[in-house]
């Protein structure tokens, strides 16, 4: 123990706010990190899925007998192996989902509802045998008419996916079933009176294509069920506690008998908040009594895992001559895929959230069609409705001849503004992000011919939720941290930094891991931009337990009252009358005497995190349009977003940049393309065109920090908002470059060239 200890006066944040090297970094640059498909177990079988070739068909029969007889086939599962579920809605990822639907999405029951819908699964001793076995499963289908497009699906004569689906949210209850699962509406003020006050009204209809999350790692799992019915599941997921809940429910197992370990996760963006393979692997392993590994091909990822909705959106906004928004209306029709549950609800709530508007009405429809069930995708629902709104805002600015940033500033939501979805905002940073982009030299750099500059803002709520984290002080004073949310993009670094600062130990003495479902209490998934916000709250809670405990132990060691001991900057310190009796001790000092003072030192944060702060962002983009080919090139890109407090600025910037890049893909090239037979034409990275390195410029990231008063460090979630503004920012830039307003995504070269040629013809 050192003779003298110097204690700084205030709690110093030595880690938080710095650009540390992430704890899992070396494993990830050396190939050591184990992702979903990287685990193999002794005796492991290969699992494969038989999928529907049809967009819509009744399953007349499934005969697996020939497959079961094939040597090397150890198990086959079909709908018979999954008990039916009653209709019950539960929150999961983005909107309520229903186990009745989930069991049907995992394996088709009465009907197949999209091409790629799972029908059966086999486990065999080799890939070749598994593939042969799939060919030996005889499925008799009665092919039914299908419907792909959302507007078509809403027609009264459209092929019906579910004959028990009646539109919710309309009174009286409809007499006939339809593909419209739900109608929702939010309203405030008097929309008619609002439009009557408007000097300029713009109304437009928009269409967006479904886009896939596009994570590079396909879904993968290894499940092993033992003879006593306990199951171990390894999988790539955003929430292993959710996987556990779903597997236990679908297979009628006790939650405590299912242990799920999340692998390193190779991207999720919302798409790994649901289960596809895991229940199948558990069911196969249960039958075969051997571990079963299942990995999706890229084609399966595109055809069978959730993209986000495509949509048709109508927006009408009214503004006074002096630039005040007085009324706003939107109607959103979102594809849900084969089962209800599109993100239209958040789409409705986010549409006008960035603005202070007295009279608002938004109507939304959740519509099923013969496509894969949508899954969450980064700010689910918001990019679609905000694309439409931000496009109309730009057109209003054009009509009024007001700078688009100025028009937004005039109407921007501020602290105290009543959000379009109801409650008042606390401190928020929209205005700050608008000022931030205005101040860049990007905003004022002159542009050339066929070039244009666009701006758009975006909003996402952010959430908290149930979260656990534990901290253990080891014998040598190092700290083990365990969290329950999978780390997709640097979470372990952020949690370790907060733990280090809370306990006053160096960052590199904290070793964070992600615990399995047996190691911590229920922890909601990594999603909703919650994991850093909620995880750091849980870590702070755990650390504060440790600090209180250390003070109690020190008080006993020093024989002083506990109120004369204080924890400060990594030390327990005697204060007041006790100051003369003892010398401060570091956490490491206390760790050495842990055994003699009551045993191991640890804290366990178990919270339901409340107080998430919304994050606003504003994007600025320059484009150049090739008038002869319709190609749009992104020349320059700037993101400004409110992070509240950036725990690790590099990973905050990375979220801004990555979200912008995904938005650029959504804006320009990404789309699901269906053939007339309802089959997906571009189920691969070759023709589902995500941005490559040469498509993009550097993306400047400006971190605005308006602290969230409900978090000790001021943290807001930041992961989702960055995908909201790009589509409108780019559409607005293209409009400035060409004079043409594009209302349909993607703004791909054929579409842009067609519009340019039609205008040329119209002029001629």
């Amino acid at each position: 123990m050192p003779d003298t200890v110097s204690i700084p006066g205030d709690l110093v944040q030595t880690s938080v706010g710095t650009r540390t090297v992430r704890p899992d970094g070396v494993d990830k640059v050396t190939g050591r990190a184990r992702f979903g498909a990287d685990l193999n177990l002794p005796g492991q079988l290969v699992g494969r899925v038989l999928r529907s070739p049809h967009a819509h068909a009744r399953i007349v029969s499934i005969d697996t007998s020939r497959a079961e007889e094939l040597p090397g086939v150890k198990a086959v599962v079909t709908r018979e192996d999954f008990p039916d579920q009653s209709s019950e809605f539960i929150p999961a990822g983005e909107m309520m989902i229903n186990y009745k639907d989930m069991v049907r999405n995992v394996l088709a029951r009465e009907k197949v509802l999209y091409e790629g819908h799972a029908v059966a699964a086999v486990a065999a001793t080799s890939v070749a045998i598994a593939k042969r076995a799939l060919k030996l499963i005889d499925v008799t289908y009665e092919v039914l008419p299908h419907v792909i497009d959302v507007v078509d699906a809403m027609r009264p004569d459209a092929p019906l996916l579910h004959d028990d689906l009646y539109t919710a949210g309309v009174e009286p209850k409809p007499a006939a079933p339809s593909n419209v699962a739900k109608r929702i509406e939010i309203a405030q003020g008097d929309i008619e009176a609002g439009f009557a006050k408007a000097d300029v009204v713009v109304e437009r209809e928009f269409k967006t294509a479904p886009v896939h999350q596009g994570y590079i790692e396909p879904h993968a799992t290894v499940a092993s069920v033992s003879e006593d019915g306990t199951a171990e599941v390894w999988c790539t997921t955003q929430g292993h506690f959710i996987v556990r809940a779903h597997c236990a429910r679908l297979l009628g197992m006790d939650i405590g008998k299912v242990r799920v370990t999340s692998s390193e996760i190779g991207g999720g963006f919302g798409g790994k908040t649901v289960v596809y393979l895991e229940p199948l692997a558990v069911a196969l392993s249960k039958k075969a009594k051997r571990p079963v590994k299942m990995v999706m091909s890229r084609e399966e990822v595109f055809k069978s895992s959730g993209p986000t909705s495509g949509a048709t959106v109508k927006v009408k906004m009214g503004v006074t001559k002096d630039g005040r928004f007085v009324a706003a209306f939107a109607e959103l029709k979102y594809q849900a895929g084969a089962f209800q549950g599109s993100p239209v609800q958040p789409g409705v709530m986010c549409a006008f959230a960035p603005y202070d508007i007295e009279n608002v009405k938004v109507i939304g429809y959740d519509v099923v069609s013969n496509r894969p069930k949508v899954a969450a995708y980064r700010a689910p629902g918001a990019p679609i409705s905000e694309f439409a709104v931000e496009s109309v805002v730009d057109e209003l600015a054009r009509n009024l001849d007001i700078d688009p940033v100025e028009l937004r500033l005039q109407n921007a939501a501020r602290e105290g503004t009543k959000a379009a979805y109801g409650p008042k905002f606390g401190p928020i940073g929209l205005v700050d992000t608008l000022h931030a982009v205005e101040k860049t030299n990007h905003y004022t750099t002159p542009l050339g011919e066929w070039q244009g500059r666009g701006v758009a803002s975006g909003f996402w709520f952010n959430i908290g939720g149930e979260t656990c984290a534990s901290l253990t002080v080891n014998e040598d004073g190092t700290v083990s941290l365990m969290a329950g949310t999978p780390d997709i993009g640097g979470l372990r670094a952020s949690l370790a930094m907060v733990a280090a600062d809370e306990l006053g130990v160096p960052y590199d003495k904290v070793r964070p891991i992600i615990g399995d479902t047996g190691s911590l209490g229920f922890t909601f998934l990594t999603g909703g931009s919650r994991s850093t916000f909620s995880g750091t709250l849980a870590v702070v809670d755990a650390a504060r337990q440790i600090k209180a405990d250390l003070c109690r132990r020190a008080a006993k060691l020093w024989d002083v009252p506990v109120d004369q001991v204080e924890f400060e900057n990594g030390h327990v310190k005697p204060i007041g009358a006790a100051a003369a009796k003892a010398k401060p001790m570091t956490v490491a000092d206390m760790a050495k005497v842990a055994g003699k003072t009551g045993g191991p030192i640890g804290g366990y944060g178990r919270i339901n995190a409340q107080g998430a702060g919304p994050s606003f962002g504003t994007h600025l983009v320059d484009v150049e349009v090739d008038p002869e080919t319709g190609r749009v090139t992104i020349l320059r890109y700037t993101v400004a977003q409110d992070a509240g407090k950036a725990i690790h600025p590099s990973y905050v910037e990375g979220q801004f940049q990555g979200g912008a890049a995904q938005g650029i893909g959504w804006a320009l090239n990404e789309e699901y393309i269906y053939g007339p037979d309802g089959t997906l034409q571009n189920a691969g990275f070759l023709d589902y065109r995500m941005p490559v390195a040469s498509d993009l410029p550097m993306i400047d990231a400006i971190i605005v920090e308006v602290p969230n008063p409900r978090h000790p460090y001021g943290v807001r979630g930041i992961g989702e908002t960055p995908i909201v503004p790009p589509m409108a920012a780019i559409a607005n830039a293209i409009e400035r470059a060409t004079g043409i307003r594009f209302t349909e995504l993607p703004m791909s070269p054929p579409r842009v060239l067609k519009a340019l040629r039609e205008r040329a013809l119209a002029k001629a």
Partner: protein, 81 residues
């Protein structure tokens, strides 16, 4: 009395009444009182809604206090990707 506003489709279940004065001191009490007054609402409150108390959104927070002059919005659950 706290002023309670029902957002979106919830108002359909109250016969169109979207603003209610309720003397609740916690979210739990609020849900009980709302459920008694409008039985059609009860299952939805159990299913999972969010509440915003004076601008701050809470989810699954039955024990959260509500002040006598609080403004409370009952909203659909929010999650994310």
């Amino acid at each position: 009395m706290a002023r309670v506003v029902l957002i979106g489709n919830l108002a359909q279940l109250t016969g169109g009444e979207s603003e209610i004065e309720v003397a609740a001191t916690s979210v739990k009490q609020l849900f009980q009182m709302l459920g008694q007054r409008h039985p059609a609402l009860a299952p939805h409150l159990e299913e999972g809604v969010a509440v915003a108390i004076d601008g701050q959104i809470y989810q699954d927070a039955l024990l959260e206090p509500i002040g006598p002059d609080s403004e409370v919005f009952v909203l659909p659950q929010i999650a994310g990707g």
